[in-house]
């Protein structure tokens, strides 16, 4: 009895067998499994229980008093004792110096970690305040560490406003104290979650998948059987996607039940979006694996893509490129679904973008594996 190997039924049977074989191989590797699922747990826990490093911290500053008046001393005291921010103030008396010497020292110290900023209280500080109700306030802030500079600027403005309120000294001015919304997002894990989840799924799944063809030694033998090359690709994509499903569910449940992150959308919607992103990571990984001839090459391709994606999404943000990066799309879609309460229909541009990239790499994989990759012949 002859079997039509091209029939749909046969193809389906072969693909199922391939998936089972792939999953068997993957699951057998216990260490890999533990690492794959331990990474998200460790990283989420680390951030969930840790402290946030970007904002805050003690602001060290010098106040150089050329005026030596009661008003200038009061100004210094406001910084020392009344500010709501954490500020450590040093004045010339602490070093037994004249104001000029102290300013020189401040200039020297500004690029170092010892101070973040210095303020100069000019000679006519009190006189200006009395006569003009206004005075210049030269402030020098070190911007090598951007986040310390940001904290320093906020602390200085906070303290000067405090001084004005205490002394009832007002002049035409425009302030604002930004109201951050949504209020509950000030939890660092909640803010980090969209980026964190996306980056973990991409890194773990993509790296594992980069080894799926180049590291598959029996693949050569398998291709001597009546198995089509594109079936191999489909089998691999599906089996790695199954692994991704477990990882996504684990991450989302861990975030929700252990750290209390609340999703404003249906769980299934968030899951489906991340699944599409994971499939995207898988097809890109399969592509890296297809074009590589050694394990090292494929993992380096992963690293190259991963780091460039980080640089572009986090710092450079070149508009032409950034919108085509899966990490950017997944992070934006996560925010829209989980925090803004949008539906899958509302985020169709992100989904379309991810689908197009996925389809593009899938076609390249099939074509490359079917017609170009000759190593197995």
């Amino acid at each position: 009895m002859s079997i039509d190997i091209r029939s749909l039924k046969e193809r389906r049977r072969r693909i199922f067998s391939l998936i089972r074989k792939e999953l068997d191989t993957l699951v057998k590797d216990k260490v890999s499994m533990v690492i794959l699922f331990i990474i998200p747990i460790c990283v989420i826990t680390l951030i969930g229980v840790g402290e946030f490093s970007l904002i805050g911290g003690l602001v060290e500053l010098y106040i150089i008093d050329y005026d030596d008046s009661d008003e200038s001393q009061e100004f210094i005291d406001t910084f020392k004792y009344n500010t709501t921010a954490e500020v450590s103030v040093k004045v010339k008396e602490d070093f037994n110096m004249t104001a000029e010497e102290f300013e020189e020292q401040a200039k020297e110290k500004l690029p170092t970690e010892e101070i973040v900023a210095y303020i100069i209280l000019i000679e006519n500080f009190s006189e200006n305040l009395k006569n003009n109700k206004s005075t210049e306030l030269p402030i020098f802030i070190d911007y090598i560490d951007f986040f310390s500079a940001f904290s320093a600027q906020a602390s200085i403005i906070d303290a000067t406003v405090h001084y004005q309120i205490i002394n009832q000294q007002f002049e035409s001015d425009l302030f604002y104290f930004p109201v951050m919304k949504p209020v509950e997002s000030l939890n660092i894990l909640q803010i980090a979650a969209p980026f964190l989840v996306s980056i973990m799924i991409f890194a773990c799944i993509n790296l594992i998948t980069t080894q799926c063809i180049v590291g598959d030694k029996p693949l050569k033998r398998l291709l001597t059987t009546p198995t089509f090359r594109f079936e191999v690709i489909i089998g691999k994509i599906i089996s790695y996607s199954i692994l991704a499903i477990i990882q996504i569910v684990l991450i989302l449940l861990f975030l929700e039940f252990v750290f209390g992150i609340q999703y404003r959308c249906l769980f299934i919607e968030l899951f489906l979006m991340l699944l599409l992103f994971a499939v995207n990571s898988v097809v890109i990984g399969v592509f890296f694996s297809s074009i590589s001839s050694s394990r090292l090459q494929s993992s380096q391709l992963f690293l190259f893509f991963f780091i460039m994606m980080l640089v572009i999404t986090q710092i450079v943000r070149i508009p032409v490129i950034v919108n085509f990066l899966p990490l950017e799309q997944a992070t934006a879609a996560f925010v829209d679904l989980a925090y803004r309460g949008k539906t899958l229909i509302d985020i169709w541009p992100n989904l379309l973008n991810l689908s197009i990239i996925t389809l593009f790499f899938f076609i390249i994989n099939v074509v490359y594996f079917q017609y170009i990759k000759k190593e197995f012949v």
């Binding site: 690029p111 030269p138 080894q211 394990r295 090292l296 710092i315």
Partner: protein, 390 residues
């Protein structure tokens, strides 16, 4: 055979193994291409060759976006003018503020959505269509006319960091411009000097402390992670007089040679793209050299404990990802001081960018040297205990 003769032979073997290891590494042309392409592309991206604000930006009032050197998107900001008060004759001050915002819109620095309905703007903010909104309050003009400060209501969406930064930056700039134009100095006329910002290569300057160690450590440890576990002919070496210490040492030296050339490329390219540092280039080189060394040793350690190449890769991703997340989000100094990425990042900021003396941060060098010795010995012990399959 005397001790001296033994050492001579050992050096001879190490030299041979070193040449062999280098040849093996260089033979994989595609892998080498990626290794060298990675830092080149990194510097080109950060240097603004492909766009962004890599070399530009003003030194004065550019706000957050230009301080970061990053190419932030144009933010959409809602605006409500609730002010009907009178203060100055023949002018409508709130209208002037609105016009000021419109000027920036025309200059394509912001997109202003005017409204008179706060609920509508709240919805737009919640949907992510706008990243902030400003309300000009009632008594805006009157308060300013009687020499009294006015507090604007500014609500910012913090869910998207880039939008948050961009909107806060542009609001600061608009307010400063408005105050200056109308001579509203306040009690304190802040003359803020943003010091120590380089004239050129700002984006490189802001990215160098995070991304240089990231690339160096990643390449070194990823390549190192495959050196033992994927080296199939290494077991045949057991038949030769070469011992395992010599084998692992030559793997370290050969990869470090490659990494050194990579570091040099990174530094030379950065120099040409305008990176300005206060410290010495030699200090910067040694910081990256140590980072690469530590990366290779971490890689060798992972390679020596892994049974499969895939396992080594997974160990690598665990270590690498853990460090990236820790550097970005964790403040615990004890944890950070033990992580090569965080340590190197700190050394770059202190010694290369700030120009402090290397001695001022000796403790971090000490930790890195200790880690090098501990992990190298651990890698050697695990490798030595591995059974030779012949």
């Amino acid at each position: 055979m005397g001790k001296l003769e033994e050492i001579k032979k050992s050096i001879f073997r190490i030299r041979g193994l070193y040449i062999k290891e280098l040849k093996v590494l260089l033979k994989d042309i595609f892998a080498m291409f990626i290794i060298y392409a990675m830092p080149v592309f990194l510097v080109l991206f950060l240097g603004g060759v492909f766009g962004g604000n890599g070399t530009g930006g003003d030194n004065g009032g550019g706000g957050l976006a230009s301080m970061m050197g990053g190419g932030l998107e144009i933010p959409a900001i809602g605006l409500i003018d609730n002010d009907n008060s009178e203060g100055f004759p023949n002018i409508d001050l709130s209208k002037i503020f609105v016009n000021k915002c419109m000027q920036y819109e025309e200059a394509e620095e912001v997109e202003i959505i005017e409204s008179n309905n706060q609920s509508k703007l709240e919805i737009l903010l919640g949907q992510g269509i706008i990243s902030a909104y400003i309300i000009i309050p009632e008594m805006f003009e009157y308060n300013l006319s009687i020499h009294f400060p006015t507090i604007l209501v500014v609500v910012i969406d913090v869910l998207e960091l880039s939008g948050f930064q961009a909107s806060q930056a542009i609001i600061d700039v608009i307010i400063e411009d408005f105050k200056e134009e109308n001579n509203f100095t306040g009690v304190f006329d802040y003359e803020i000097t943003r010091a120590n910002i380089p004239e050129t290569g700002r984006q490189l300057f802001s990215g160098v402390s995070l991304f240089f160690p990231m690339v160096i450590f990643a390449i070194a440890s990823l390549t190192g992670a495959q050196l033992i576990v994927s080296d199939i002919p290494k077991d045949r070496l057991a038949l030769t007089p070469a011992n395992k210490f010599e084998i692992i040492l030559t793997k370290l030296i050969s990869l470090q040679t490659l990494m050194t050339s990579l570091i040099l490329i990174l530094l030379i390219l950065s120099y040409f793209l305008g990176l300005q540092i206060r410290g010495s280039v030699f200090d910067f080189f040694w910081i990256l050299f140590l980072c690469a060394l530590l990366g290779i040793i971490y890689g060798l350690f992972m390679s020596s404990i892994a049974r499969e190449p895939l396992e080594a890769l997974q160990l690598f991703i665990f270590v690498f990802l853990f460090q990236i997340i820790a550097v970005l989000f964790v403040q615990n100094e004890l944890i950070l001081s033990l992580l090569p990425l965080a340590n190197t990042s700190l050394l770059i900021v202190s010694i290369a960018l700030r120009g402090q003396s290397p001695l001022s941060e000796y403790i971090y060098y000490l930790i890195q040297f200790s880690e090098c010795i501990i992990f190298f010995l651990a890698a050697y012990i695990f490798y030595k205990r591995k059974k030779v399959l012949l």
